[in-house]
């Protein structure tokens, strides 16, 4: 699951601490032990699980990044060797470049498409519920099926997309085989798949904007465009930031299934996103240490990115009002 969490609507001190009169204080200390024990028991399954299956693997990944494993069980300490290797590995650099490009194209595209669809389905239109459902439907399909489905539709010459295009005089584009088109194809499919999710997020943000604002703007004679720039856009800032952060994380860490099925990283590595390259290195070439090092870099980048966004959004809360 993607980390769909608005960077830090964390309330550090719940409202519970507000009431501190002395009698309550005494009663509290009497049951503090019991409460602490209860908390321990309630937290036990999840903390244990997160520790074993997320935290420890995380630490192992970082440690593993300093070793070289050759697939025959031989381990040797290489220090920053894997990191130095990264800087000299043309395939890694290509992969990083592609990931950056993919990010730079896909995130704004998702943002714009999601917002436009939300603005559309927010309108009072007959049968809008049905339209909204149709736009959201792709999101529930697994990426494996999405990949197979598009592969079927994009088949060279015989696929429905090329047959349709040939009616307009465009012939025989190899959407998944020609290095010029592959990344673009993956981007379009990703938009198609994710747009419903971001549409819902934006829609929810739009619905939180008080209708009175629009009404008074209308009375003041503001056109649709002015209303958008002066009301919708500024009021949507928290939502926009949320979408921006989550989409970035989702784009970097997701997409593996799709690439695995659709292109296998090819042709000529043009769709080999970092997340796919890591998998290749580990499970195809047995380069666990190297793969772990790349993974560590990725997590570090995400961590810095999230901390940065957390900072500038002041913990996810923007107090415009």
């Amino acid at each position: 699951m993607t980390a769909t969490v608005r960077a830090g609507t964390i309330e550090t001190n719940g409202s519970r601490r507000s009431a501190t009169d002395s009698s309550k204080e005494r009663r509290r200390s009497a049951r503090a032990r019991r409460e602490g024990l209860a908390a321990l028991l309630f937290l036990l399954p999840d903390s244990l699980g997160l520790l074993i299956f997320v935290f420890i693997p995380m630490v192992i990944a970082i440690v593993l990044g300093f070793f070289r494993l050759d697939g025959f069980g031989n381990i040797s300490f290489v220090g920053f060797g894997n990191y130095i290797r990264m800087a000299q590995d043309p395939q890694f650099l290509q992969s990083a470049g592609i990931t950056a490009l993919y990010l730079v194209i896909l995130v704004p595209a998702i943002f714009v498409v999601g917002l436009l669809l939300a603005l559309l389905v927010q309108q009072r239109i007959p049968f809008i519920g049905v339209i909204r459902s149709a736009l959201f439907a792709p999101y529930v399909i697994s990426l494996v099926v999405v990949g197979l489905m598009w592969q079927f539709m994009l088949a060279d010459k015989v696929g429905v997309v090329n047959q349709f295009l040939s009616a307009f005089g465009v012939h025989g584009i190899s959407w998944l085989g020609d290095p010029h088109y592959t990344l673009g194809t993956v981007v379009v499919i990703s938009i198609w798949f994710q747009m419903g999710y971001y549409m819902i997020i934006f829609l929810s943000g739009l619905q939180d904007i008080p209708a009175e604002l629009y009404e008074s703007a209308r009375i003041d004679g503001a056109g649709a465009w002015q209303r958008f720039w002066n009301i919708t856009w500024p009021m949507l800032r928290p939502t926009s930031l949320f979408v921006f952060v989550t989409a970035t994380i989702a784009v970097i860490t997701g997409g593996f299934d799709l690439i695995y099925i659709l292109t296998g990283g090819g042709p000529a590595g043009t769709t080999s996103l970092l997340i796919f390259y890591i998998y290749q290195q580990a499970f195809l070439y047995g380069e666990y240490g190297y793969a772990a090092a790349i993974g560590s870099v990725l997590v570090l980048v995400l961590l810095i990115w999230s901390a940065f966004m957390f900072r500038i959004t002041k913990g996810g809360r923007i107090d415009d009002e």
């Binding site: 769909t4 309630f42 559309l120 007959p126 049905v130 697994s142 489905m149 994380i249």
Partner: protein
């Protein structure tokens, strides 16, 4: 929600009735009207919706086409056939794959929901030392995405002897801070008095959690349950990595290996894809509200 906005809009405009020449008045209640503007937007919406839904419809319809017709130009199958489905269910253990997916997804959904809601309860309602620290550490694990820790997680599962087993499919999938985070946000919103009263009545913390807190959040839990089920039904990388026994293949892995073996028989692959997609589409059809709610709340509560 739309009607709410509609009524507010109407009252807003009546206030300024005298000041402006009457703008087209909207009646409260059903506001689906065929004005020029709404008709234009309707057409735009329908076109986009059809383009969006086309791949799905095309896949489903193609699954009823014969091998010879599969790349034909007609949208509807010229010769309807169930042969692809018969093949998928008789020659390939697709029923087994479906069962595996269902079993794993249902198990994970129920247990994860219980564990996450327990942890969230402790983090939101109980006072103990280091509560914020525990929460922040759990929260930070949200940044760790599966493919990045795939190798070490694989090693951990191997050490625990859960490789190539249902345990390996289920147990690691149970733990994600996402549910904890979300539920905590809800639980924190409740007033203290609720528990104070229960505590005075002598109820233990489990009773409060089970009989007071959980029933209040049934809709949230339902939304999250649907979301979890969907995510687990669609998961691919993890089952692919830790299972090799064909009997343990979940639908997504089954269909991917099927695809590798039968790359040329497109009609079978289309039918198999449809089979894998139908449960999610049905889930979407019946629980659309819960799914969209869970998405909204994940971002906004």
């Amino acid at each position: 929600m739309t009607s709410d906005i509609a009524t507010r809009t109407t009252t807003g405009s009546t206030l300024h009735d005298g000041a402006r020449p009457a703008a087209p008045r909207r009646k409260p209640g059903r506001e689906k009207k065929w004005t020029k503007k709404s008709t234009t937007l309707f057409v735009v919406g329908v076109v986009i919706a059809i383009v969006t839904i086309f791949p799905l419809a095309y896949m489903v319809l193609s699954s009823f086409k014969t091998e010879a017709d599969i790349y034909g130009t007609s949208l509807l199958p010229p010769h309807w056939t169930f042969e692809n489905y018969v093949y998928v269910f008789t020659q390939v253990p697709f029923a087994r794959y479906m069962f595996n997916s269902f079993f794993v997804s249902a198990f994970v959904t129920v247990v994860a929901l219980l564990f996450h809601s327990m942890a969230a309860y402790a983090l939101a309602r109980l006072r103990f030392k280091g509560r914020e620290t525990v929460f922040l550490i759990m929260f930070s694990t949200l940044l760790v995405s599966l493919p990045v820790v795939l190798i070490p997680e694989f090693e951990v599962v191997r050490l625990l002897g859960m490789l190539d087993s249902y345990w390996g499919l289920i147990v690691p999938s149970l733990f994600s801070a996402f549910g904890i985070f979300l539920l905590r946000q809800f639980y924190i919103s409740l007033p203290d008095e609720l528990e104070e009263a229960a505590l005075i009545d002598g109820a233990g913390y489990w009773r409060i959690y089970w009989n007071v807190i959980l029933p209040l959040f049934r809709p949230v839990l339902a939304a999250l349950a649907v979301f979890f089920f969907l995510a687990n039904w669609n998961s691919f990388v993890w089952p692919l990595t830790i299972t090799s026994n064909p009997d343990l293949r979940v639908v997504q892995v089954g269909i991917s290996t099927f695809h590798q073996q039968y790359a040329s028989s497109e009609s079978y692959i289309v039918a198999a894809s449809t089979v894998a997609a139908i449960p999610t589409l049905l889930l979407f059809f019946f629980f659309q509200r819960q799914i969209t709610e869970s998405i909204k709340t994940s971002g906004f509560k």
